[in-house]
Symmetry: C2
Subunit: 353 residues, 2 copies
DNA sequence: ATGAAAGCGCTAACAC
DNA sequence: GTGTTAGCGCTTTCAT
């Protein structure tokens, strides 16, 4: 069915060497020959067997993708951009998922190594449990780009400037007249969580506002795997709900709460409604990410829109450089900034004092 | 670095043939020899080169995945389940995205064919624009399972029983005392949309209720690609919003509206809020899918939870059969049923008449 | 029950 | 400039 180079060469009355030179764009072919062959080639509709190429060259022109942790729509958007960027360069994507456990990660790495991928991109909100597998890869000079900051791993990464983003949101809230500002994060000490905390604290300090430790709230995540056949990522919503209740139980409450994500802010709004707390009147809120639902939340969310697609594209570009053997500046960190989106969840406080 | 079968055979003092027989579980090996070799093998940590296997056998043990249309969280959940099911059988996933255009689909098919995938799974809410490429595949007896009903294509598929589901929701609403029931769908004549319409109409008829044509609303989808680096699927929310306004403009309105999706119902609620229409008091609503946000909507949504993971698993199982050469019952349709989830968006109507 | 050898379709090194 | 050839690591057929 599919023609081989051998057959094509015979059919055109040339040698396989010449045919290969035409295919690979080598200059060592007479222009007239090249033209004649190229024409015939497109008529025949020949395209080389990628598997054989892979065996021969040791390069498969594939990129492995590891998605860690819960399913999130943002991963989908990144993956789409990654596919597009990779495709334009002749690369395909091999997709793997890890549940976030150390074994899950090991399985992904093993699968991708056995598939002989030329490079890897790690994404997802989960943290790396066991970096041993990854360290081995890095030592072997296999390109590995993380779309997330990974403190435990010295590798290239593409990250969002979370300290700046949370500083920006803090400044925005302050500009609205708020002085009593809270922060709601999950209780996991991820690199991003620490960065977010710092972003808020620094902005508060820069504005001469005190940091109320009680309001820098950390709430445990209740992960709930529902039926065995379902993976629903409701944990962030739930965390926002739980956090809201903790804030409501305080004798003195902030007038604005910066949330870890849009889901958190939406969960917070849910609790606010059930407790007759007005948003943004009694508590202003900001989300983070600008998921599609943010615009249609009970009170539309002021939030930071993530450059999901660009994160993916930059990751591919960086990985490409490594795969071409250019290891200058390793480990490199590409930092991107999100965009403030103003909606109704964060307005000026009711005049209190 | 990686050992080859040749090297391993030499090292163990056996022939490559015998080694291969051990590896492939052939019975033509003396038990003692087999044991000795297996032990040595696991010590060495040898694993065969998948690329070379692929070249030799013509089977790559890979499944191609085509995601069509906008990024949705449900695709992510399916993909995760597909990966798990495939991995357990020694298969890997090659991921491609189509923007929903005919060219996008052609590119995906070409990419996967050039990668020599053993089978394909098509998923996503978009419809197939041009089925010519796919028809070619099917004719060539390449396994192709669609996780969606594709009217224009005779192939295996795994689908949700939408007529039943929408009938079920209709019966649920009727049981709550509603008699004036509307349906809100996008204006695209997809197989699912037609099925949903029929499900509602049949249930209404079965209950002896008249079908009000004006209330079987079809609303155009406003697709909005925001910045070039973003793919945000807000179209479904927007459609719900638009649809709500149309309902509100009617002189006589239904007391309950069945929506195409949770996003649609959430968009509807948004419009209801802005127009001071009480949900569920003045209009009860049902969603569809049970996305994570459904539980945390302004009014938590009564909806139908999709068996996303099972859809993926069943697709892999069916594809597996085809890849093994078992074409019995082609084209086969696997039908799965979603589960009714009761929340607050759909209660009994305010007593009218 | 085991060993030897011939390719799968391609690339790269070497001849002419 | 062009043709020839030797493998990449594996599976499969044929011999023993």
């Amino acid at each position: 069915m599919e023609l081989t180079q051998h057959e094509v060469a015979d059919r055109l009355g040339i040698s396989r060497g010449t045919l290969h030179r035409v295919l690979s764009g080598s200059p060592l072919v007479k222009a007239s020959t090249r033209q004649r062959i190229e024409k015939a080639l497109s008529e025949i509709g020949y395209s080389p067997n990628i598997i054989a190429q892979g065996l021969r060259t040791g390069r498969t022109r594939t990129i492995g993708l590891i998605a860690i942790g819960d399913a999130k729509i943002s991963e989908m958007e990144k993956a789409r951009a990654i596919h597009e960027a990779a495709r334009l360069r002749g690369y395909s994507l091999v997709l793997t998922y890890s549940d976030g456990s150390a074994e899950g990660e090991a399985r992904c790495v093993d699968e991708l190594r056995s598939r002989k991928v030329d490079g890897l991109i790690v994404t997802g909100k989960g943290r790396l449990q066991d970096s041993a597998h990854f360290k081995k890869l890095i030592k072997a000079r296999v390109g590995l780009v993380a779309i997330a900051p990974i403190a435990t791993l010295e590798t290239d990464c593409v990250v969002v400037d979370a300290p700046w983003a949370y500083g920006e949101m803090t400044r925005h809230i302050i500009s609205k007249g708020h002085r009593d500002i809270g922060l709601l994060l999950e209780d996991i000490q991820s690199t991003y969580a620490i960065a977010k905390e710092k972003g808020v604290a620094d902005a508060l300090a820069a504005a001469g506002l005190p940091v109320n430790k009680d309001w820098m709230l950390r709430v445990p995540v209740r992960v709930r795997r529902e039926e065995a056949d379902k993976v629903r990522s409701v944990s962030d919503y739930r965390m926002g709900y739980d956090g809201a209740l903790k804030f409501f139980a305080m004798s003195r409450r902030p007038t604005a709460v910066i949330c870890q994500s849009d889901q958190t802010a939406i969960g917070f709004q849910h609790a606010a409604k059930l407790n007759n707390v007005d948003v943004p009147g009694e508590v202003a809120l900001t989300g983070y990410d600008d998921i599609p639902a943010a615009e249609f939340a009970r009170v539309p969310l002021t939030t930071m829109r993530q450059p999901e697609a660009e994160l993916g594209v930059r990751a591919v570009e960086l990985l490409m450089r490594r795969m071409e053997g250019d290891w200058s500046g390793f480990p490199q960190m590409v930092v991107l900034r999100p965009t403030l989106i103003e909606r109704e969840s964060c307005s000026r406080p009711k005049s209190e004092t």
